[in-house]
C-alpha cells in the first residue's frame, strides 16, 4: 500500500515534469515559421494546404490543444513537412520503423555487457588487491574513460576494414533477425558494450567488496558454509540490491540509443532520424523525438528508484 502510493506519487511528478518540458518545447517550436519541403508527387502548396487544414497556422494555445487531442484520440503525432521520404506522411509510422535497429543493438549490447561486466566485477572483488583485481581495475578505468567513439573507430578500422570480419555498414532492409543482419550489427554492439562492461564491473566490485566485509558473511562462514556458498547465497544477493536497479535503469535509458554509434555504422535508428529532423527542420518529427528522449530519461530514473523498493523491502523509498 505504501509502495503503491509512492509509485503513484513518482509517476504523477514525472508526468508533471514531462508536460512542462514538452509544452515549453512545443511553444518554442511553434514560434518558428514552418519550413516546407517538396517530395515525390507532393508540392509545397499541397503540404501548406494540408497544414492549414490541420490548423498549423492557428494561435499556439489552440494548436497545443489540437496536438494533444489528436495524439490522445487518434494517435496522430503530425505529418512530415521536410523529412525526405516522409513528406506528407504520418510521422508515427516513420518513428516506429526506426525503433527496431536502435533497440536491438542496445539489447544485444546489454546481453553481452551485463554478464561480462558482473563477472569481471565479482572476480575483482573476490581477488581484491591481487593481480587479477589490479588488471581488471586498470582496464575498467581505461575503458570507462575512453569514449565509445574511439572504440567505434578502432573496431571499424581494424575488424571491419583491415580484417574484413564484419561489413562496414549495417545491412539495409527490415529482416532484423537474419544472420547477415546480426553480423552487421555486431561492430556497433561491441563499440557500445565496452563502456557498459566497465561500468558494471566497477559498480559490482565496489558493492561486493563492501558486502563481503559484512558481519553476516562471517556468520555464514561460521555456520559451516564454504566460501563459494557464502558468496553466492549471501554476498551476491545483497550486492545485487543496488546493482539490479542500475541494470534496469541502464536498460531503459539505452532505448534512446547512441547517436554517435548510429552515425558511425550507418544504423537506420532513432538517433539518425533525430539528427535528420534537425538538419531539415521537420518540427513534428522533432517534437515526437524530443518527447521520446525526455520520456525515456525520466522513466529510467523512476524505474531505478522504484525497483530499489521492490527488490529490497527494507528500503522504503521517499520515507521520512
Amino acid at each position: 500500500m505504501y509502495m503503491l502510493k509512492y509509485i503513484l506519487k513518482r509517476i504523477g511528478l514525472m508526468l508533471m515534469t514531462f508536460s512542462i518540458i514538452i509544452v515549453t518545447c512545443f511553444v518554442l517550436i511553434k514560434l518558428l515559421p514552418i519550413p516546407l519541403g517538396e517530395g515525390l508527387g507532393v508540392d509545397k502548396q499541397l503540404i501548406e494546404m494540408k497544414l492549414r487544414e490541420r490548423g498549423y497556422y492557428d494561435p499556439i494555445p489552440v494548436q497545443l490543444w489540437n496536438y494533444v487531442v489528436r495524439i490522445v484520440t487518434e494517435g496522430d503525432f503530425g505529418i512530415g513537412t521536410t523529412m525526405p521520404g516522409y513528406i506528407n506522411q504520418p510521422i508515427w509510422d516513420g518513428f516506429v520503423s526506426r525503433l527496431p535497429p536502435t533497440i536491438l543493438i542496445n539489447v544485444y549490447s546489454s546481453l553481452i555487457g551485463v554478464p561480462i561486466g558482473l563477472g569481471l566485477g565479482i572476480l575483482a572483488a573476490l581477488k581484491k588487491n591481487k593481480w587479477q583485481d589490479q588488471v581488471i581495475s586498470t582496464g575498467v578505468i581505461v575503458m570507462i574513460s575512453i569514449p565509445s567513439i574511439v572504440f567505434a573507430f578502432l573496431i571499424q578500422y581494424v575488424l571491419c576494414f583491415k580484417l574484413g570480419w564484419f561489413p562496414l555498414r549495417m545491412e539495409s532492409g527490415t529482416d532484423y533477425f537474419s544472420w547477415e543482419m546480426f553480423k552487421s550489427m555486431l561492430p556497433a554492439v561491441f563499440s557500445l558494450c565496452f563502456g557498459s562492461i566497465a561500468g558494471y564491473a566497477r559498480y559490482t566490485r565496489a558493492e561486493l567488496t563492501e558486502v563481503l566485509t559484512g558481519e553476516f558473511m562471517l556468520l555464514a562462514r561460521t555456520k559451516g558454509l564454504t566460501r563459494g556458498q557464502a558468496t553466492i547465497r549471501h554476498a551476491l544477493r545483497n550486492a545485487m540490491v543496488p546493482i539490479f536497479p542500475m541494470i534496469l535503469g541502464e536498460f531503459v535509458s539505452v532505448l534512446s540509443g547512441s547517436m554517435i554509434i548510429e552515425n558511425i555504422f550507418d544504423i537506420p535508428g532513432v538517433g539518425g532520424l533525430y539528427l535528420k529532423s534537425i538538419t531539415v527542420l521537420d518540427y513534428d518529427f522533432f517534437m515526437l523525438l524530443s518527447g521520446f528522449y525526455t520520456l525515456v530519461g525520466l522513466a529510467a530514473g523512476i524505474i531505478i528508484d522504484i525497483s530499489y523498493g521492490i527488490i529490497d523491502p527494507r528500503i522504503r523509498m521517499g520515507a521520512k
Partner: protein, 518 residues
Amino acid sequence: MSELKNMDIMNIPKEKFKFSSGDISHDKKFETKPRTYFQDAMSRFCKNKGAIVGAIVILFLFLYAAFGSLLTPYAVSYNDTYFIHTLPKCEWFANTNFWDGCEDKSLNKETFDYYYYIGEESGHNAIKNQKYTQSGKLYNVRWDSYHSTGCIYKKVEAAEYENIQKYQNETGIQVIYPTVAKRNRPASIYVGQNMIANYWYKTEAKNGRLQIVYDENGDIIPVYKSHEEGKKSNDNYNSIRIEGDGENGMVYEYALPIDTGYEIRVNYYEYYIYYHSYVLKDGIEKPSFLFGTTNGGQDIFTCMASGAFFSFAFAIAVAVVNLTVGAIYGAIEGYYGGKLDLAMERFSEILGSIPTVIVITLLRLHMGNSGPIVILFVAFFATGWIGMAASTRMQFYRFKNQEYVLAARTLGAKDRRIIWKHVFPNALGTLVTKCALIIPSMIYSEVNLSYLGIISLTSGDLTSVGTILANGQGLLRLGIPHVAMFPAVFLALLLLSFNLFGNGLRDAFNPSLRGSED
C-alpha cells in the same frame, strides 16, 4: 567523598582552599608543523601515481593546445587542393621507414609504372628511393604521399609564367616541365583529371584500358611537345631546361599558349614551394605535415591544436560560470532547506530532465544569428550548473548542523558569514573535484556535438576536434586511418588523464570516499 557529602558546598571554609603551585600542566604544544586541510590533501594527491601521471599528461596536452599552432607555419584557414589526406611526416624521420609520409603498398604493374615514372622524370620519387620488390604480379613499394601528385597542368597568366621562370633562374630548381601536346595526352575516361599530366610518355588505349607503349628496348617513349632546333617557338620559355632537352636537334616546349596566358605543366611539389615561399611568403618552406592533412587539405596538427585550445578555454570558462552559479544556488537550497529547497529542487530537476541535444537544437533554432559559441555556451550553462548545485546542496546538508556551525550561530554569526566562512570552505574540496571531472565531460560533449554536426564550430580560424573526427570517419572506411586517429588518440588521452586526475583529487580531498563511485 563522605566528607564532601556532609559538607555544605556553598560554605566551604576558606582554609580548605590552597593556591595551586603554578605548575598547571597545559596541553603540550604541537612539535610538528600545523598542516592545513589543503596541504593534507596535496600530500595525499602526490602519493597517487595515477593522478600525477594524469596531471602531467593534461599539462602536456594543454601546452600542445596553447602553443601547438605556433610550431607549424600553417594556419587553421590554410588548405590545399592537392595535398589532401597526406600522410603524417616528420622531417627528422624522413630517412627512416616511420613517420616519413610514406605508406607500404602493393601495386599492380599499371599503377606501379604510373608512380615509378613520376620519379624517373622529375626526381621527385612517388616511390621512395625508386626501390621495389616484386612478389608475383605485385610490386611492394613504399609509396610517398607527398610526391604522388607528380605533375599537374596549370593555367597561369603571362605574369605568373614569367615569375616562375624567374624563380627557376634564381634557385636553379625545375618547376616547369616540358608540356605534352593535347593529342598525346590520355583521355580522362582512363585516368583522373589530375593524373593526366603525369603521362609524359607514349600511351595507347587497348581493350578499354590505358597501356604504356614501349620501344624495342622496353623503355618508355617520351612524347614531350617539341620543335626543331633553331625554329621559333611560341612558348616564350627562357629558363632552365631539363636533361636531354635539345638532343637529336629537337627542343622541348614548356607551355601551351591559351587565351588567358599559358597552360604549363608543373611539378606540384616544387610549384607548392614556389607558390608559398616566393609568392605568398607565408613562412611555409615545403609541404611537411606532422600529423598529415584532412580531406580538405588542412593541417591536422594546427587544426587540432586550435580546436583543442578552444575546447579547453571553453570548458574552463563554462565550468567557472557553472561552479559559481551552481554553488550559490546549491548553497541557498542546502542552507535554508524547507519549502524553498523543495521549490528550487523541482525547478532544477525539470531543467535537468531536458536532454542537452534538445536544448542546443532549440537554442540554435531561436538564436541562429548569435554564432555557435554563444549558443553552445548558453546550452552548456543551462543544464550544466545543476550538477554543481546538487553537490553543493548535499555538502551544505552535511555540514550545516555540525557543532562548529551551531557554535558560530550561537555566537551570533550571520547567515552569510556561516555560509562563506564555515560551511563553504569545507565543501570546496568536493566542488573542486567535481569541477575537474566536469571539464572533460564538457570537452567530450562539445566534440560530440560538432562531430554530429548539431553545432558547427568550423569557420575561418576556428575549428573543433569533432569536425576533424567527422572528416576522418569518412576516410576510415576508405582505409586512410590517420585523419581519425590523431583526434581520437587526443580525445582518449585527454579523457583518461582527466579521469585519473579527478579521481586523485577526490581521494585527496575526501579520503573516506576512496574507491567509491563519483
